[in-house]
Each structure stands twice: as structure tokens, then as C-alpha cells.
């Protein structure tokens, strides 16, 4: 596995241009009901984990989805794959509306959309061999790969950097990074077009993170896979993403090309988020101006009126409480949901 950095600028692709996107999500909502305990459950409220997000993922593109813990990014990713039933909104995959497809109708679609999970320990069944874990997509989907399942699984293992002779071993015999490679091999087995990566490297050592990210990039080029890359580590997201969407309390704050987000952030929340990234240069680091956001994340069961970020925003005015800002296009490909966006002047932040 090569350790060399892939320059982010070389892989930037024009976002959302030309043909229809692979995945288009409009006004997606996922609310979890809060019910009373007891025999007769009454709904007394709901947790608005995802509250009206719209975004697109182009073919072979990586869209980074960032935000702090509890902002709904994992729920958004799972809802887009219909692992959770959306409350409202539409999900279109390859031009087809899959919002209301039931579980059986989703089965053929699942060949083309997969998921890589955060926890390499709980995402692999401890009672199955690696061979049967990676071969599971074939068994479940009834696919007979040329040359047989075992040969296909072993070539997948080789492709992701595992020893194919370990076909009969159990997950507990592998390290965290190797386990994540098993999860990746399972996800790419059916050559999906979209993979939702739910913090795939946040449970790994930093040295292993780079290897796994490079593997994901190599596989993207080889199989033309689009990633929805969910993470909270901004440097990881910058490394791998073509475009980045910033999420806050179930809403999208800003969507733009990766470089634009990092060089000219327009939403105050993005700015605050980026200002928290340390700079690996002591002189610059001392001059770095940190924006400390006040207060706690509001409860998603009772979000603030108007702009959800206004309770912690230093620029908030009356209008922010009355009117929810829409995601508007400020420049081509750069959308911001803010009444008072930052000027598009470059800010000096970490590389």
C-alpha cells in the first residue's frame, strides 16, 4: 500500500454538471418518534435527526458529509440507503425514485448501493469466517460470480490487501485495519455504484487511516464508485472529498467543492469548525484565531426557530430567529444556508 499523498486538487471534478446525478436527495427528513412507555404508546414528540436536507452525489464522486456528533449525518446516510425509512422527502437513485420502495423491492437496488461501517469490530459477525463474510453479498443476492464464490472472494481479499489464504479465519484474528479491509471487500463485492462510508477510518490508528483512505481512492478509480463519506475529521474529509457538505442539527449549512470549503468558507458554522483544526506549524499555529462557539448543541427534538445555528452564532440577528435561511447558491457550486454569509475572502487555515 503506497503511503504517498494523493493531491486533492488533481481529483477535483466539476460538481453536479452534465448528466443526472447518481443519487439525488430532496428535502429528506427522518424524525424518530418519542413515545411514552407502557402498553399504549403515545407519541409525545420527535427527534428531528434529519430535517430537510437536499443534496446530490455524482457518479464516481466523493461527497464528504461533516458535522459534529449528533448532527444527524449518520442518520442521513442510512436513510439515503433506506436502512431507515424516511419521514418525508424523496430519494432518487440512478434516476429512479426509491423513497417508497419496500424492503423486498429494495433488494435488487442494494446490489448497486453499499455501506462501510464505522466500527470494524461490530460490523463483522464474529461467528462467520472471513470467506463467508465477504461472500455474503453473493449468497444474499443470489449472484454466482465467474469462477465461483471462493475464487471471487479470494481475489477481493487480494485486492484490498488481505492474504487470500486467510479465507477460513475468523474476524477476531485480525487487527482493526484488516477488519476494515474485510468490510471494504464485502462492500465492493457486487461492484456497487454508491458506497456510504460511515466514518470508516475514525476507529483506526492514524497510520492505518491513510492506508485505508488510499485504498478507498484506488477502488474508486478502478470501479467508478461514488462515496458519501461521513466523517467528523476535517483533514480526512479534505483528503478524500471532491465536494463537502457541512451539516448542523439535521440541516445542511454549506455545500461546496472541497477546496472552496476549506479556503473560503461562507457559513459561520463552517468557519468555526475549520478554526478548530490545528495547524502543524508552530508559528502559524500561535497566530491562529480560534472561533469558540458558545453553548451546547440544541436538542434535535426541540430545535431553535428560524436558523438552527442562531443560538450559537455570533452574527445572529432578529431575522435569524424568524426565518430559516434557505440553501442558496452564492457562487457556482457553492451553496450556503445563512442570512449573513461570510465574505468570500480566503482564510488562513491548516493545509
Amino acid at each position: 500500500m503506497s503511503e504517498q499523498e494523493h493531491a486533492t486538487s488533481t481529483k477535483a471534478r466539476p460538481a453536479g454538471s452534465g448528466a443526472e446525478p447518481l443519487l439525488r436527495v430532496s428535502h429528506l427528513q427522518k424524525h424518530f418518534p418519542i413515545t411514552t412507555s407502557g402498553l399504549l404508546r403515545r407519541t409525545i414528540g420527535s427527534v428531528k435527526a434529519v430535517d430537510g436536507i437536499s443534496l446530490e452525489v455524482g457518479r464516481s464522486e466523493t461527497l464528504g458529509l461533516v458535522g459534529e456528533s449528533g448532527c444527524g449525518k449518520s442518520t442521513a446516510g442510512r436513510t439515503m440507503l433506506k436502512l431507515l425509512e424516511p419521514t418525508a422527502g424523496t430519494i432518487e437513485f440512478e434516476g429512479r425514485d426509491i423513497t417508497r420502495l419496500n424492503r423486498a423491492q429494495m433488494v435488487p437496488m442494494r446490489r448497486r448501493m453499499q455501506m462501510i461501517f464505522q466500527d470494524p469490530y461490530s460490523s463483522l459477525n464474529p461467528r462467520h469466517t472471513v470467506g463467508s463474510i465477504i461472500g455474503a453479498p453473493y449468497a444474499i443476492q443470489g449472484v454466482n460470480p465467474p469462477g465461483g464464490v471462493k475464487a471471487a472472494v479470494q481475489s477481493l481479499m487480494e485486492r484490498v490487501g488481505l492474504n487470500p489464504e486467510h479465507y477460513n479465519r475468523y474476524p477476531n484474528e485480525f487487527s482493526g485495519g484488516q477488519r476494515q479491509r474485510i468490510g471494504i471487500a464485502r462492500a465492493i463485492a457486487l461492484h456497487p455504484k454508491l458506497i456510504v462510508c460511515d466514518e470508516p477510518v475514525s476507529a483506526l490508528d492514524v497510520s492505518i487511516q491513510a492506508q485505508v483512505l488510499n485504498l478507498l481512492e484506488d477502488l474508486q478509480q478502478e470501479f467508478e464508485i461514488a462515496y458519501l463519506f461521513i466523517a467528523h475529521d476535517l483533514s480526512v474529509v479534505r483528503h478524500i472529498s471532491d465536494r463537502v457538505a457541512v451539516m448542523y442539527l439535521g440541516h445542511l449549512a454549506e455545500v461546496a467543492d472541497a477546496d472552496q470549503i476549506y479556503l473560503t468558507p461562507r457559513h459561520p458554522y463552517t468557519l468555526a469548525l475549520l478554526s478548530a483544526v490545528p495547524i502543524p506549524d508552530p508559528i502559524k499555529e500561535r497566530k491562529r484565531k480560534r472561533i469558540l462557539v458558545q453553548g451546547d448543541l440544541p436538542s434535535p427534538s426541540n430545535p431553535p426557530s428560524g436558523c438552527v445555528f442562531r443560538t450559537r452564532c455570533w452574527k445572529a440577528q432578529d431575522i435569524c430567529a424568524q426565518q430559516a435561511p434557505q440553501l442558496r447558491e452564492m457562487q457556482p457550486g457553492h451553496r450556503v444556508a445563512c442570512h449573513f454569509p461570510e465574505e468570500p475572502k480566503p482564510v488562513i487555515l491548516s493545509s
Binding site: 455501506m115 463483522l124 459477525n125 469466517t129 477460513n168 477476531n172
Partner: protein, 331 residues
């Protein structure tokens, strides 16, 4: 029972791989088996049980070889004035190694061997049925949650609310007759009745254990991963979740098995068990109580055998639980 720990799907690597690899892959079942093999107490218990099961299975052969019979009377072995066994310790002799029954002179060893067949058959069958129903109900309740879980939970409460012994005693005449009219005459119907009663009142305990485990297992990401690949409910339940339940199931089975032997003995003792002259351990114990003062050996042999089996199963159950628990340290 422990042997099945190894038969979790695909756990035995092909021999070719074992030879190539210096460190061969070992499944959790194999690791548990290795731990179990180092536990001398557990191995003693297992060998004891295997011997007893083998004796029960080959009872006809053994009795023929020893020229003993569980049903035939032997007037010469008992005294003519009161029917007590002639000879030391309950009438021990070459002809009757463990003595004879007072009054009839029937051979104790033969009756114990044949009794083991009935007792072990009832407890094995009841354990298997209990575990099957308990696992099915528990896995469904835990996985579906919601109203399914609620309804099954209330149903389990209702079943557990019945006093087992009273119900077993009061239903026995009606149900054994019903089974007889269905063509199961005599002991067949009574054995079936015992198995049914024990199973019907036994499964909710395991169902609750399994449900609790499933509630936590279903939240692990490998279940969601199976859903994301398009797996159906039956695959998720039986291929993904069930293999993770072997530890509690095996432990529960080894613990209830001896209690079912004892329960069969109690029910036979109370008279709803197998009809005489067919021997069971419970019926022998029931008979021996009357002779305890004059012929204590008659109580000793079935009592000791029951004790050994129950004790062996319990220690084996403990050892299996320890062996399957990954926290007990690596081999």
C-alpha cells in the same frame, strides 16, 4: 451437547489449510473446546455422561450378556416370608450385581439400565423441544420488538403463572386418555404426555434469556450490514443472529437437562409418569421409599445414579459457560 459448540457453520477449516499455516485459524467453538478439554472436572463429567448414555442405549445388549432381565421375577432372590432380598446390601450376588427389588426379585441393574432409557429419552426430548421453542420465540420477540414482543412477553407471563406440578397432575388423566384415543396406548402416550408437559412449561425461561441477548445483538452493525445487502428476515435471524446465541443456549440446555430428569422422577413418583412394570428412575425411587428402613440399598442405587447424572450435567454446564466466555482468558 458440547460437541455441537464446534458445529457452528463452517467452523472446521479444511485440512489443507491447517497444514499450510503455522498458526491455523481457530473458531470460537474450537477455542471453547480446547478450554473445555483442559478442565479436568468437565471432562470427567462428560465421560461419565457418555458412559451412562451408552449404557442406556445398549441396555438390551448388556442385560442379555449378564443374563438379567428388568421384568422377570426371581422368587429365589427374595425371602419367602416378607419378600426382602436375600444377600448383602440389597441382595447383591453374581446373578444380580446390584441386588434385586424387594417382593418381586426383579434385577436392579437391569431396571436401572432400562429406566435410564426412559428417563434420558424424556429429558433429552423435553430439552430439545424446550430449546427449539424458546429460541424461536425469543429470537422473534427480540428482533421484531414492538407489539410482537409485547404479545409474546405477556403470553410467556401467562405460561409461567401456571403451577407446573398441579397442572401436570390435574391434566394427566384427560390428556393421557386423549393420547390413547389417538393410538398411543400405554406408556407411549404417558411418555409423550410427560415430554409435552415439561416442554410447554419450560420454554419461556430460555425465550426470555434469548430475547434479551437478541435485543443487544440486533443493534450490532453486522446485522445492519446484512440488511444493507438485502438479506431477508430469516437469514438475519438464523444465519447472523443465531450463531451468536450458542453460548446461552448450550448453557441453558446443560442446566435444564438434569432438572428435567429430576422432574420426570417427581412426576413418576407422584403417579402421572410411566406405568409399571416399565422401570424409570423416578418410579424406582417412588417404590424404594417404602422399603427404606429394611432395604436402604434399594433407594441408594437409583438415588446415586440420579445424583451422578444431575451433578455431571450441572458441572458440565458450568464448564461450558466458562469455556464459551471469551473473558476467561485465552488458551
Amino acid at each position: 451437547m458440547t460437541v455441537s459448540a464446534q458445529v457452528t457453520p463452517g467452523s472446521v477449516p479444511p485440512a489443507a489449510f491447517e497444514e499450510q499455516e503455522a498458526i491455523a485459524g481457530r473458531s470460537l467453538g474450537q477455542l471453547a473446546w480446547m478450554r473445555l478439554r483442559r478442565d479436568k472436572g468437565a471432562m470427567t463429567a462428560m465421560i461419565t455422561l457418555i458412559v451412562i448414555i451408552a449404557l442406556a442405549v445398549f441396555a438390551p445388549l448388556i442385560t442379555r450378556m449378564l443374563h438379567i432381565d428388568p421384568l422377570s421375577f426371581d422368587d429365589k432372590a427374595v425371602s419367602q416370608d416378607g419378600g426382602l432380598p436375600i444377600g448383602p446390601f440389597g441382595g447383591m450376588s453374581l446373578a444380580h450385581p446390584l441386588g434385586v427389588e424387594p417382593g418381586t426379585g426383579r434385577d436392579n441393574l437391569a431396571r436401572l439400565l432400562y429406566g435410564a432409557r426412559v428417563s434420558l429419552f424424556i429429558s433429552f426430548s423435553a430439552t430439545i423441544i424446550t430449546c427449539t421453542i424458546g429460541v424461536l420465540v425469543g429470537i422473534v420477540a427480540g428482533y421484531r420488538r414492538g407489539w410482537v414482543d409485547g404479545a409474546l412477553g405477556r403470553f410467556m407471563d401467562i405460561v409461567l403463572a401456571f403451577p407446573l406440578l398441579l397442572v401436570a397432575l390435574s391434566m394427566a388423566p384427560v390428556l393421557t386418555q386423549r393420547l390413547q384415543s389417538m393410538g398411543l396406548s400405554g406408556n407411549g402416550g404417558r411418555v409423550l404426555y410427560l415430554i409435552l408437559v415439561i416442554s410447554i412449561f419450560g420454554w419461556p425461561y430460555l425465550a426470555r434469556i434469548v430475547r434479551g441477548q437478541v435485543l443487544s445483538i440486533r443493534e450490532r452493525e453486522f446485522v445492519e450490514s446484512a440488511v444493507s445487502m438485502g438479506a431477508g428476515t430469516s437469514r438475519i435471524l438464523f444465519r447472523e443472529i443465531l450463531p451468536n446465541l450458542w453460548a446461552p443456549i448450550l448453557v441453558y440446555a446443560t442446566i435444564v437437562m438434569p432438572s428435567y430428569i429430576a422432574l420426570e422422577a417427581s412426576l413418576s413418583f407422584l403417579g402421572v409418569g410411566v406405568l409399571p412394570p416399565t422401570p424409570t428412575w423416578g418410579a424406582m425411587l417412588a417404590d424404594s421409599v417404602r422399603y427404606f428402613v429394611v432395604d436402604p440399598a434399594f433407594l441408594f442405587f437409583p438415588g446415586a445414579l440420579l445424583f451422578i447424572v444431575v451433578f455431571a450435567f450441572n458441572s458440565l454446564g458450568d464448564a461450558v459457560r466458562d469455556a464459551l466466555d471469551p473473558r476467561t482468558g485465552r488458551v
